[in-house]
Each structure stands twice: as C-alpha cells, then as structure tokens.
Amino acid sequence: MAKVHVTTSINGEPMEFLCEPNDTMLDALRGPLGLTGSKEGCASGDCGACSITLDDHLVCSCLMLAVESEGHEIGTIEGMAQGEKLHPLQQKFLEMAALQCGICTSGMLVASDALLKKNPDPTEEEVRFWLAGNLCRCTGYDKIVRAVMETAAEMRAQ
C-alpha cells in the first residue's frame, strides 16, 4: 500500500506524517508521530485509554482513521501541561493518588479536561457518567472522581 501524507495540527503545532490509509489516528500518534502518551487498551473504542480531542471534541483515537485528521486540530495528553506547568487536573491526580499503574491516566485526564471545559460544575453523577468510557482496573474510580470534582471546584474559585 502506498503511504498517505497527512498534514494536521497537534497540540497547536502543525505536523505532517506518512501513514497507511487504514491506520487509525492512534496508530499514527504512537508510530510515525512518536506520541506514545495515548495508549491502546482494546482498539475497539471500549476502554478510552486512547482518548484525544478532535476539534475540541472528545473522541477515541482508535476509532478514527489517521487520514481524517487532515485539516483538523488534534489534542493529546502531551499537550495538557504548558511546559513545566501542569494542568490543574494533572496536579490534582498526583496529589490525590488518582492513579496507580497509569495506563488509563492519559485517557482519564483528556476526558476529564473535556468535561470541565463543557461543564465547570459537574455533580458526582455527571463526572461518573462522563468518564464511563474510560476503564480503570486499579483504582475503582473513587479517587479519580474526587480529583476531578476538587479540580473543578478549585478552577471555579479562581
């Protein structure tokens, strides 16, 4: 198969890469783009470990073709911190022990960020249902939900 050349924007930076037409965005991120922060847990859209944003919409990168990113804006975990400055969610996850093995953490953070951008004052139920597409097997979700809600409260107070 001849490779396809794709021009896109990732975390605000213009990027180009070569990929097979049937590569997913996750394949492209982890392969030619070298952005391995998004993880593959299932390749079928059931675990959320590959979560990214596409034009600010939360999506599973394993469920979109890499070629579809042409002309769009992609946001990944690598773009959450600003240089050395962590996003408040990242900081809170660390402080509240909202991660153990870390394999779901990238997806959880991207998904949580998307939630707070849409709804800065979510209830516990709203957080839980928003994150239902992000599987975690280590934490039982308790500390993750607490971290998201505390971050939301802190961000609202600012």
Binding site: G41, S44, D46, I77, A97, C101, G102, G133, C138, D142
Partner: protein
Amino acid sequence: MNLVTNNKWIGQRTIRPDGMDKVTGRAQFAADTTMPGMIWGKVLRSPHPHARIRSIDTSKAEKLPGVKAVVTAKDIVDFPIAKGAVMLGIQDMRWMCRNVMARDKALFPGHPVAAVAATTEAIAAEACKLIEVDYEVLPWSIEIEDAIKPDAAVLHEFNKFEGKPSNIAGRLEHKKGDIAEGFKKADVVIERTFTTRPVHQGYIEPHACLISVASDGKTTIWSSSQGQFMVRAMTSMLTGIPQSDIRAIPAEIGGGFGGKTIVYLEPLATMLAKKSGRPVKMVMTREEVMRATGPTSGSKSTVKIGATKDGKITAAHGTFYLQAGAFPGSPIRGAAGCSFTPYDIPNLLSEGYDVVSNRSKVAAYRAPGAPIGAYAVECVLDEVAEALKMDPLDFRLKNAAKEGTKAAHGPTFPRIGYIETVEAAKNSDHYKAPLGKLQGRGVASGFWFNAGGESSAQVNITEDGNVVVTTGHPDIGGSRAGIANICAELLGIDYRRISVIIGDTQTVGFSNLTGGSRVLFASSMVVTQSTEKIIQTLRERAAKIWEIDPEAVKWENGAAHPVSPNAGQFEPLTLEQLAEKAPAMGGPIGAGVQLNTTGADGGFGTHVCDVEVDVDLGIARVIRYTAVQDVGRAIHPGYVEGQLQGGVAQGIGWALNEEYIYTKEGKVDNPGFLDYRMPVCSDLPMLDCIMVEIPNPKHPQGVKGVGEVPLVPVMAAVANAIYNALGKRFYALPMSPPKVLEKLDEPTQQAAE
C-alpha cells in the same frame, strides 16, 4: 526491632515518584519502547479447543517478502514430562514450555502454535495465515463437571488420579480434629454448593515486549511483567540463553493483578530476535489477551458448616474444585488454605481439587483461590448466622481467630488484627445507616497469606548529598512512593531528595515477583537495612571528623549530631556536607542488602456492602461499600486505600457481571471489553476504606502486605447484601440481571433445615 514512629514522612500522602511521567504521558510502558531496526512479531494460534498437531509447514510463510523469522515448538526448550517437575517458584516449567508454544497438542482455542517476525505487523499477520497446520481434532471439555466425567477426553494421558488417566491433576487438604464428631455436636448445619465462572484480571495494558538478541547472544528484554527476574529465568530456561546474558528490564506495567507473573511472548520474541538478528516487538491485542492469557479458575465449591445454638462453630467441611485450564496449577492452595482461616474452628476438613480442561491456562489473580473459597464460606456463614438469629458480625466475632489460634494451613497466629476489622465494621457509620426499599446490606470477611521472599536493594548517596534507591520489584501499586517515604523518614530528609528506581536484572540483585502482597514488605526491609548501614557510615565519618567515638554520634533530621553536649560541641554535619567529603574519607557512601525476607503475616479484611435492586429488570447495584482491613502500617495511606478500592471494584465486577462466555464450539464468545463487562465509573459508588493499623512486629516499619486481601470478601458481601434486599440466596456467580430475575420468579424456598 524498634518500630519507626516519627511520622514525618511515613503516613503522608506524598506524590509518587513515577507520577509526573504518568500524568504527562511520558511513562514508558513496554509497547511504547522502540529500537532501531525493530520488526514485529505475531502469533499463530490454534482455532481448536483440543487437537493433536500432526504437522506444521511454515515454508510458505518463510517465503513471504518481509518475513525475517519463524518459530515453532522446535525452537523452544522442551521440559519432558517424564523427567518430572522443574519448578520455578510455583510454576512447573513442563507446563510453561507447552503453554508458550504448543508441542504435540493444542489444548485451547488461542494456544500458540507458531510465531512469525516481519518488517510490519500486517506482513507478520499475513504470514501466520500461510502457515499450514495439520490438526487432528479431538473431543474437548471446558467446565469442571464435564472435565471430571468418567468418559471425558483426557488432556494429559500421563496424569493419573486414583490410578486412572484423569483431568483431576491434584488434590490437597487441610485437616484439623474430626469433622464427623464436630457436626454431631452442632445444632444447626448448613451445606451449600456454589459455582463461579472464570474471570480475567482485566489489566488495561495488553502483554507487550521488545527484545533484542545480539550475535553474541546478549539479550535485552523490555517487557510488561510483574518480575524481571522471572522474565529472565523463564526466558533463559525456555530458550537456552544463559541468565547472565539476559538483561530483563521492567517497563512501567499497566496492571497485572497476578496475570503478569508468567511469560507468554518473551520466549517467542527472543527466538524470533535471535533467528532474525533484529529486535522484535510483540504486543498482544485485547482479543489475544482474553483468549490466550489465564483468567482465574471457574469453580464448584461445597461448604458445610455446623454450629451450636450459642453461636460456636463446631465443624466445617469445604470441597473446592478449581479449573486449571490446559495445564495443572489452579490455586487450590488459596481456596483450601484461606477460606476458613479467619475463624477458630476445632474440626475442619478443607479439600482442593485441581481440574484441567480445554481453556487457557489459569494465571494468578489477586489472592489466587481465596476469593473463590471465601464466596462459598462467607455465604454459608451468613445462612448459619441467620438460622441462629445472630448478627452476622457478632457471629464472626464469636468465632474469630486471634493470637494463638492454629490456622488451617499450619501456622499458629501471632498478634493479628482480624477482630479489630470486624469491630471497626460494626462500629462504622455505614453499618448503622438505615436502608431504604429494595436495599440490602451484607457483610463478609477474608484472609490472604501474604508473602515475604527475596528482595535486593541499593541505596547510594549522590555526590551532592541526595539519595538514589534502586529496588528490584516492578511497582504496580505505589511501592516506590512507600519506599521514598520510608527512606526519607530514616534519613530525616525531604522525600523529594530521594529518587526511587526499579533496577533490571543486571543492575540490581535478585528480587522475587511483584505479587503476594509482598513488594513494600520485602523491599522496605532491604531498603531499611541498606539505609541503616549508610547511617552507620555517616556516623563513623562524622565521628572521625570530630575525633570522637562513633557511638557518641547520632543521626537526626538529616545530619550527624553529637549524642549529648558531653560528647563535644560540634556543628551538625549534614548529608550534603558528608557527601562532599566522601572521596577523601574512604570513598562513596552506599550500601546494598539482599535478603530472603521473612516475617510476613497474613492479612484480614471485613467488608460491608449495600445494594439496591431493580426487581423488574433484575439489576443489582452497589450503592455503598466499606472495606475494613488490618493494614499493618499505612506507609502511604493514599496508595493503601488504592489497593482496597481496586480490589473491591474487581470483586464487584466478579459478583455482578464478569464471566467468560463460551460458544458451542468451545471458544470464548466475549473476548473484549464490550461483552466482558468490567465495572465502569458510573457503576460504582465511592468506596470507603477503614484502615486498622496493627503493626507487624517483625517488620521495621510494621508493614503488612495489603494488596490482595481486598478482593477476597467482596463477592460474598455483595451476595449477602442481595439476599438481605430480596430474600433470595445466590449460589452462582455472576448475579447478572437475567439470573436475578430468574431467581425472583422461583417459588420461595423452604426455610433452611
């Protein structure tokens, strides 16, 4: 041993050392690694549950452009059955070599039959399709009841039970007193049979490895595993490459729960790398994980418990049949050894039967065997308590094991914290909270052995006066954070000055698996001893500078001080100052310790669970949960709670929705996260934890293993809660909606005899 009690760092919720990389996406898991020249490996797997392999023709695959190597069982070292067991820990290498690659027989759908390495994954997959395997399909059985039938197809002809070839591969028992006499004394006797389905550990990260073999045989392995020394040893034994030539590097691991305490891909990737001369990367798909890596056993357990009307248990008999999958080795030790252990029972017989059948070989899953046995025992205890009209927690208190009780599996208990967990559960706000309509509450207890075992560590002081700690166990729970807390406490310095890393097989001494709830227990022991040696060195060096006796120097708050004004008036010498002077004073400051640690004690937990049931749809939801556990000493409370919460979540999934479903052809019908239904965020409530601290007197910081106990009581707690809500008992898991509705439709059972 003097327990450390300062609590400046121990007990603090510090930031875990590996945390920054994990929240920024920088942490390197095995599938994230690359090497120049890397090619991809794929596995060809048997489609049949049971088949003799008459021949394998790989010639077409080898000719496909892009294919660099093909591997079959010929390339894996054989451990002949007839020569007897070759043990590596609890694994018999005769089964391991056949599990990683089928030899004469394929024993489950998904059993590896060959492997290919090629320049792209797609080519490797295409090449697998070109391999021609001549199978002689054989009859098969998966469920225990089918596998133990007299006419069942036997997986291993050499395996005999009671003189005949059989699928029963082993039996063990624990015995105490005389159960016949004991049951005679009972006023209430309840006997029930329970079944559970196989469930998978469910780690989100599939198995992955990247392996490079140089022409001189020097091998480098990055893999997702719970033990780099296990990876080295198994790979060495299965490929013939000497251990000293293998550097097994533990990547960050994305969950294990016991399922990554053995190898699947590493020996195959090593031989592919050796034959091709290129580094080979192999990553399992989710489907491969679900089909071909061990879930835990399905089971059939019968438990009989008798008690007098004042609430004393007089006798108990448990028979636990556990599925081993394709090769012997189900966790009957955990089922038979742990299930009755929280109780002081004068007459006891606990038997375990290991049954092989045509599904993937079982792998360890968090307190292997114990949750299965506890489900049965804790449910029967609930029925006995009810028959006696006793509160279920009071019933447990009445029969609780304590210091001096002789456990079923042998040891006599030292000071343990079981009673404290039951009392804490009783006194909790949760236990006293009112319940609403169609809501119910259940309780259960559980025990797990915990382990000690080998651990090595090095502690080195950097030239600028900070600390690097190298430990030997992959960190799956937060052990690096605990170690940093302990080391900071001992040295009296800010924990941020301590770097904790995990060494590989060539940079740190032998350390046994991450499993058995042992990592913090064992590694903190050797880190403590190493740090104490360093403190001794620091005191000696300060003493030399001050020209006083080392006994007159104390180490406190990160500096050497004279013990008293009598020793002399000296300004304290800090760690940084002594580090700076080190070259002139005898050289680098560091110490390493290797031990086979002992003194690990078992762990106990008692759980309280509330459920609410939608009786028209049969859906039970957990609405409140409290896990009480004797944790010894919570070195990092956040990560101890994390272990409790994680185990509870897995148990809720096991109780309500997780199960392996097979097609009529004997294949896994739900090999993915869509239909293998693990709890999602919206399924669970907050999971409360009560940590009871009864320090382990044999450990410098009082640490007890905590990781496995949390899974043990959960299914029974949920089942007992559903009974409390509905008045119906469940003797089979999962208690999924169709099963709940079916049970609600049954005519009400007769009262227990």
